[in-house]
Subunit: 243 residues, 2 copies
């Protein structure tokens, strides 16, 4: 096995997964998804469908007990989700604290699990879809280049060199990540990003707003349904959907 991909079922990890499949083929790629008490646990169903679409080995773990004491808005027991973009939320807090959907050291924990599993199934690379927009202004400190660099070193040292961390889009913005997914024909219609986890994506939470904007910048209509009308002027349908 070549690469184990941390797959949230969202747009970013599915885009890098499509690149891993292009690079290595489906026999050399596996995915892992983590339930941690997130409101939008339907993203796990998406991750499962995406692994099925490619015919990949897929692993799942449940960390919800570890986050039972957290009041992160990302979690079922947490604060309410805000209906504003990350930029607006950071303006409110002056960027001094992470946004209220930050989950304590989530990516450190997830990458550690993926690294452990990589050794177990003899995969030599761990891929992770953090990108520059997530880290902007301290919104999610566990997506920053500094965090990724330190974690890459911890993984190299702590596994005795058995596993390498790859964060192929850490210096790209969300729109560039969508571009990579489009280029590699990622099944983006199977993804789920909205933090609310209702029937359709809400179109109003931070992650929906940023996702819509990223697709608009690529002049492509996001293939997932939204609960509100979105103005897709100058955007085209996905050319390869369901092929």
């Amino acid at each position: 096995m070549k690469a184990l991909i941390l797959s949230s079922g969202g747009n970013d990890s599915t885009s890098i997964l499509s690149k891993a499949v292009t690079d290595y083929g489906t026999k050399e790629v596996a995915t892992v998804s983590i339930y941690y008490g997130q409101r939008h646990d339907k993203e796990i169903e998406s991750a499962r469908k995406i692994a099925d679409y490619y015919g990949l080995a897929h692993y799942e773990f449940d960390l919800s007990k570890i986050y039972q004491y957290s009041n992160s808005a990302m979690l079922k027991q947490g604060e309410a989700i805000k209906e504003s973009s990350y930029a607006e939320q950071l303006e409110e807090t002056k960027g001094e604290v992470p946004v209220n959907t930050y989950v304590p050291f989530r990516n450190g924990l997830f990458l550690s699990i993926v690294t452990a599993l990589a050794i177990e199934i003899e995969a030599s690379e761990v891929w992770y879809g953090a990108h520059a927009d997530d880290a902007a202004g301290n919104a999610y400190p566990d997506c920053s280049i500094e965090f990724v660099d330190a974690m890459a070193a911890a993984i190299k040292e702590g596994t005795g060199g058995q596993v390498v961390l790859s964060a192929p889009v850490v210096d790209k913005n969300k729109s560039e990540v969508v571009a990579i997914g489009l280029e590699n024909h990622a099944p983006l219609w199977l993804t789920w990003s909205c933090y609310k986890g209702e029937d359709k994506q809400c179109g109003l939470c931070g992650t929906c707003r940023d996702r819509i904007e990223a697709f608009k910048q690529q002049h492509v209509i996001d293939p997932v349904p939204y609960a509100i009308d979105i103005d897709w002027t100058d955007c085209e349908e996905l050319s390869y959907e369901n092929i």
Copy 2:
């Protein structure tokens, strides 16, 4: 809460715990123990007794599902435990791979969990008892100074500076760690180290051999019972036991 200590119930983490209690007092210290499928799960009972002894808040998590695919000798489903010291085991493998009791990226995973929990319970420091003997010759790469430094940076960056990693004995040998425990009157009679997890400590596995040697160097009789006779010439009973 000041410090959250990763407590295995063994001699090393109990010694640093005793220092944390001396430094900050019992109200500012909590412990966390992790079951991960280890043969010697009675170490968890020890960790619980030690937290009780000090009257500390204590947390436990189960990660055994994450290690279900591993054949590490440390795990119930794994290879047999070797009856030789780490130095002898490393000579066999020429130090090219970790010893067969290495558990995939265990300390990366454990420290990530402790860090997440630290944010949840508002503790600002995470303490961890890795020491120089564990890292020697690549036996446990996830105890090396390089790993600890990288992980400390990942924790600082990934939590936005909310949590600091402290590894107070990373440059000390096991005997010096015992000395810290003795100095701070650690309840070492409650600890469990043996990897075999039988009625008494076996006295023959790598960790037993190294523990016995560490106590001998301090001229103190290890207060836990062993299944074999140990020559404690020139060693004295623990002076503060059960006080």
